[in-house]
């Protein structure tokens, strides 16, 4: 009897200890070391959001968030294929990043002060400026979000969307009933079945749902109001600034490449460019790669394999969802996309 009890106790203890041993070590440089040793980047993405991250029937991922991961892999390994995509729902994402299950979270995540400060995370530059909107069936005859008092609203839990929704209705002294469903597909099914009057998420997401999931996109309208600022950005955890720098400057390099007019098509010709900005970015003038602890071809590989920011946008969001660049245009075209100088 004693022996069996002892055995049980030991087995239990070992099981728990094994669980703890798998906890990450979050010292400086450790994330990057682990990635290099593994040879792939573990990138947390949305489990299915057309335009941002969506697997096709062959399991091949596509989307803006996905391409950002590929760009990081190209920068780090010179090979955009060295990414392991890990689909996460809204609730799993931060825990997955904090616990070291993923190296970077590129999953339409809004940059907020609370998340940046209390979750032990660092946000890289914004890859998509979005705003929350409302979509309703045309048959309701609603023209403005101000007419929505008393409506039933479909919303995903654990998002800033859920909070903005409550804030907006409170601020305008209106009432609403939320229908909170975690799974994106189930939530949209509920909306299209008429369980809710309104579907709310980022306007890019609504456009994706409308064009890709509705039986007849013309039966639905996206109301004109954008009720929030939603800057979507990649996230890394605290503890490895070197890795944070690489993610940060990958995003800047994507934007800078577009500004300099370097595309995946013309990048080889641009190697011969006499523009010092282009020469520095492409590593013709060495130094920038070394600063990041990377190969001098870092940006070249990235542009060659993934393209610049404009290409990524058009390929994933512009054409398939019919969304204009808007805030996501380059700063010199009146948008907000602005890369810090690479020098």
């Amino acid at each position: 009897m004693t022996r069996t009890r002892l055995l049980t106790a030991i087995t239990t203890a070992l099981t728990i200890a094994a669980g703890t041993a798998a906890l990450p070590q979050a010292y400086a440089g450790q994330t990057l070391d682990a990635i290099k040793q593994r040879g792939t980047i573990k990138c947390g993405v949305n489990d299915g959001l057309p335009g941002f991250s969506n697997p096709d029937s062959k399991g091949e991922w596509s989307g803006l968030d996905v391409d950002v991961c590929r760009a990081i892999a190209a920068v780090l390994f010179g090979d955009s294929k060295k990414v392991q995509f890990i689909p996460l729902n809204a609730q799993q994402r931060f825990t997955a990043l904090q616990s070291g299950e993923i190296d970077v979270l590129s999953r339409n995540t809004t940059w907020t002060q609370t998340r940046d400060t209390t979750l032990g995370l660092n946000f890289a530059p914004v890859t998509f400026y979005d705003g929350q909107g409302f979509m309703v069936p045309k048959s309701l005859g609603v023209k403005s979000a101000k007419e929505l008092s008393g409506a039933t609203v479909c919303v995903q839990p654990g998002t800033t969307t859920e909070l903005n929704l409550a804030d907006y209705f409170r601020a305008n002294k209106m009432e609403f009933k939320p229908v909170v469903i975690e799974k994106f597909d189930e939530l949209n099914n509920a909306f299209f079945a008429g369980r809710c009057d309104v579907n709310t998420t980022d306007r890019s997401g609504l456009a994706a749902i409308r064009t890709q999931l509705a039986k007849n996109p013309d039966d639905y309208v996206i109301l004109p109001e954008a009720i929030s600022k939603e800057p979507l950005a990649p996230v890394v955890r605290h503890g490895d600034d070197e890795w944070f720098d690489i993610v940060k400057w990958t995003v800047y390099a994507l934007i800078e490449a577009e500004e300099q007019g370097i595309t995946s098509q013309n990048v080889d010709e641009k190697l011969k460019s006499t523009d010092p900005n282009v020469q520095r970015l492409l590593g013709v003038t060495p130094g920038m790669g070394k600063n990041l602890g990377l190969d001098e071809k870092w940006a070249y590989n990235m542009i060659k394999q993934v393209g610049n920011y404009g290409e990524i946008y058009e390929r994933n969001v512009g054409k398939p969802l019919g969304l204009a660049r808007g805030l996501n245009a380059l700063w010199k075209d009146g948008g907000l996309m602005y890369a810090m100088p690479i020098r």
Binding site: T20, R115, G120, L163, R195
Partner: protein, 394 residues
């Protein structure tokens, strides 16, 4: 085997050879090890959280929640605290769990008895029910009920109205409800008095039967005052009644009593699924009572209804109650699948909370503590009940 001569039983055993002492030492060592491990886990977690500058502690419970909840038994607005939001979730879990337990027990008992029916068709149908429902994962059943409600019912503007004032749409079932009047306090008081009265009457009837052997119709004794007295008070007060009738206003119905599709789907799924298990427990309990018992009771001249009530069921209950307890616990725990279809139970709300605050360890700990408390309470009650109905050996 023949025993050889006892070998030096008189020699003093060394302390470390004393099996009892050794057992104690081992147990102390194991306990120490487990405690050490627990301490290591807790301190390691706290250390890591601090190192990664992740906020800890339960201070967030005082902060404003900021998110809406679709249905609540107590008043709630997004301006309330996370603690109140959590409480709403706990009450919603109770709302589905307790109603589910009662319904599942009723349906399960009927199906269980039906399985033993001598009528071939009824027995077959009950068997099909049990085998079908308990072998399909509950999550799938929930999705089925939820989409059935959503897809088959029309929108609120085309709501079905089977009876005047009753509306069915994919926003839920809306019923007229009496508005609470101040005078209803007296009616409630009358009900309490009636229940006490009925209990006293039942005791009196039992004593009378023990003394004289004469029986009093108990159902009349109980139902008479319990129904009669409140109704009497109600009419004495002048029958104050005012109905709140649901009305289509804007997007949805307002007023009256409502039952949301999420609640209906979850309750249906949980009840029917658990009832299948309970049916099997009831069947096995009845079959465990030896046939001679009912034969003996019948030969004493007891009518069949009394044979079941006075002879079979009391004995069957002893077999039924322990496994029934674990089915009740299962039902409560399975109610956490509510997350999948958007019913705001405690897991759904705690998940949202932990995701808004980022304090996963605290959130999960609260979920676990709550389930543990609910489960232990139910188990304690059922154990008490089990002891009460256990064989009293005289």
């Amino acid at each position: 085997m023949t025993m050889s001569k006892p070998v030096e039983t008189t020699r003093r055993q060394a302390v470390w050879n004393d099996p009892r002492l050794r057992a104690i030492v081992y147990q102390i060592l194991v306990l120490g090890g487990v405690l050490l491990l627990g301490w290591y886990l807790v301190s390691n977690t706290l250390h890591r959280l601090e190192q990664q500058s992740i906020a800890t502690g339960f201070g967030f419970l005082e902060k404003e929640a900021g998110f809406g909840i679709s249905e609540s038994l107590i008043a709630y607005t997004p301006a309330d605290t996370y603690l109140r939001a959590f409480l709403v979730g706990v009450l919603n879990t109770f709302k589905v769990g307790l109603v589910g337990i009662v319904l599942a027990t009723l349906i399960g008992t009927v199906i269980g008895i039906a399985r033993l029916s001598s009528n071939w068709l009824i027995a077959r149908l009950a068997a099909i029910y049990v085998e079908g429902l308990r072998n399909i994962p509950l999550l799938l059943q929930l999705f089925l009920w939820y989409s059935l409600i959503n897809e088959s019912l029309p929108g609120p503007r085309q709501a079905l109205s089977p009876l005047p004032g009753v509306f069915m749409s994919n926003r839920g079932l809306y019923l007229p409800a009496p508005v609470w009047q101040a005078d209803y306090g007296y009616v409630a008081l009358a009900l309490i008095v009636a229940v006490v009265l009925a209990l006293l009457l039942v005791r009196w009837a039992h004593r009378r039967q023990d003394l004289t052997g004469q029986q009093v119709p108990l159902s009349l004794l109980v139902l008479g005052p319990v129904l009669g007295l409140p109704v009497l008070v109600f009419f004495v007060l002048g029958a104050p009644l005012q109905w709140s009738v649901p009305e289509l206003k804007g997007f949805n119905f307002q007023g009256g009593l409502s039952l949301s599709p999420e609640y209906a789907a979850l309750l249906t799924g949980l009840t029917l699924y658990t009832a299948a298990f309970i049916a099997e427990i009831v069947r096995s309990g009845i079959q465990a009572v030896a046939k001679g018992q009912s034969e003996a009771a019948l030969s004493l001249g007891l009518p069949r209804s009394k044979v079941l009530r006075l002879v079979i069921l009391p004995q069957a209950l002893r077999v039924i109650v322990p496994p029934l307890t674990s089915q009740y616990l299962n039902l409560i725990k399975n109610s956490s699948l509510a997350v999948a279809i958007g019913y705001p139970d405690l897991v759904s709300i705690a998940n949202t909370t932990l995701n808004q605050t980022g304090q996963a360890v605290e959130g999960i700990a609260m979920i676990m503590a709550t389930y543990l408390t609910i489960s232990l309470a139910i188990a304690a009650f059922m154990n008490w009940y089990n002891k009460r109905i256990a064989f009293k050996e005289r």
